[in-house]
Symmetry: C2
Subunit: 254 residues, 2 copies
């Protein structure tokens, strides 16, 4: 298995940590990155606190190939991500001419582009803008750090605009096989199968459906042959025990 | 404002980072902790990798008053949380007699309590068990680290069994006021209100409903008077601009 290309997502916002807003960006990013051969290796959810944002950005940009942040780039006092990323990189924040022009064209009435909204045109010196086709106020990239909006629709549009820049390894493929077999019953053989296919990653997810205990086994890996061989061993294990296989996705690209 | 009691949640599991499973434990824990006066100050989502789990547990148990982990305590090869927490604390893992008895009573047929399932009765030396009224296999506490299941129903039942142990500060109260006013229009005054009520935390969440832009403002704080005063200022700001207030929760305990 080649060295995986690893990414970290930093979700910035008190509203996620208070439980008020349920994050939708992690699963979206995870699946998109996977198709590019980039592994989402860690996610951090942090509050709108300057020093926490600065420290987390600096720690993660050293530790991961790519860092994505979501949240905190709007017009209000609690939107401090851009200033914090500038401080993390040790550069000032400036009014970006291109971002300014974008916002000017978005607000027909010039007085609507007030000081608060103008904050959204300020990015760290050296940043490259990330297009926001929905509400214009751009995200930006500083080296390996991609700063995006928190609103899922906007975050997704921004990601679609930058994903061609990302250089990944081989994408993972996966196959899920599920049956009415309790996790503890299949665990031993599963460990043996995992041992025989060390380049795959076999996950085991118990479920309770119609009052019956079952388990879904998900095999992931870069090599489709290995994923399929391990999955067939799992299928056989389930049926050899006289249990029904109730789900088999076949090989899929995720 | 008193020094807040701060907690960190560590979500352990490749299935969350792959996007396959959507975490439900963060919002549950956030809301429950808040009623106890404990602030969820950070969350990390990490993979089933031994060194990552050990490092993250050690970093977080030093940095936060309480640490909660979810996931990785089942019977299969990818359930490595208990061993990793033992290593983080530098103690061996052992078969816990009480946990063993619980599992024995759960499986009517002795041969169902196989080696894989018996792993779920192994906890670090010195751990205190956390009751699992649903499927018996317990969680455990080591000092300020609470190790719980990932399945939300079981995690919630475990948390209900330990929450009396947690010592928090004053719970936060909050009030949400929303209206059809764009975020950028209210931003300036909002910053002033935040400045006048520095002990509150005012969050601004834009929305698009029936084709109209609006913003929900959430004021949180330990002091209900301050939360209400700041909220009234926000109400007045919205109505003074000739906009309708379409939502006002009044003071609530979250």
């Amino acid at each position: 298995m080649s060295d995986p290309v690893r990414a970290c997502l930093i979700i910035i916002g008190n509203e996620i940590l208070s439980g008020r807003t349920h994050d939708k960006n992690l699963p979206y990013l995870a699946e998109e990155l996977n198709t590019l051969g980039v592994r989402l290796a860690e996610t951090r959810v942090i509050p709108d606190i300057e020093q926490t944002i600065i420290n987390t950005v600096n720690e993660c940009r050293d530790a991961f190939d790519y860092v994505f942040t979501t949240g905190g780039i709007g017009p209000t006092h609690d939107d401090i991500t851009s200033e914090c990323v500038a401080k993390a990189f040790g550069v000032p924040i400036e009014l970006n001419a291109d971002a300014h022009a974008l916002l000017k064209s978005h607000y027909e009435n010039p007085e609507d582009l007030n000081a608060a909204r103008l904050r959204m045109a300020h990015v760290p010196v050296g940043a490259e803008l990330i297009d926001n086709p929905i509400s214009k106020a751009p995200g930006f990239r500083m080296e390996n750090v991609y700063v995006m909006a928190g609103v899922p629709m906007i975050m997704q549009a921004m990601f679609q605009g930058i994903k061609h820049q990302l250089v990944g390894g081989r994408p993972m493929v996966s196959r899920s096989v599920g049956g009415y077999i309790p996790e503890g019953t299949i665990a031993k053989v599963l460990g043996e199968i995992q041992g025989d296919f060390p380049n795959t990653d076999i996950g085991s997810y118990p479920f309770l459906r119609e009052g019956k205990l079952g388990t879904t086994l998900v095999v992931r890996g870069e090599n489709a042959d290995e994923v399929n061989q391990a999955s067939e061993r799992i299928r056989t294990t389930i049926t050899d025990q006289g249990r029904d296989v109730i789900e088999d996705t076949g090989e899929v690209s995720a």
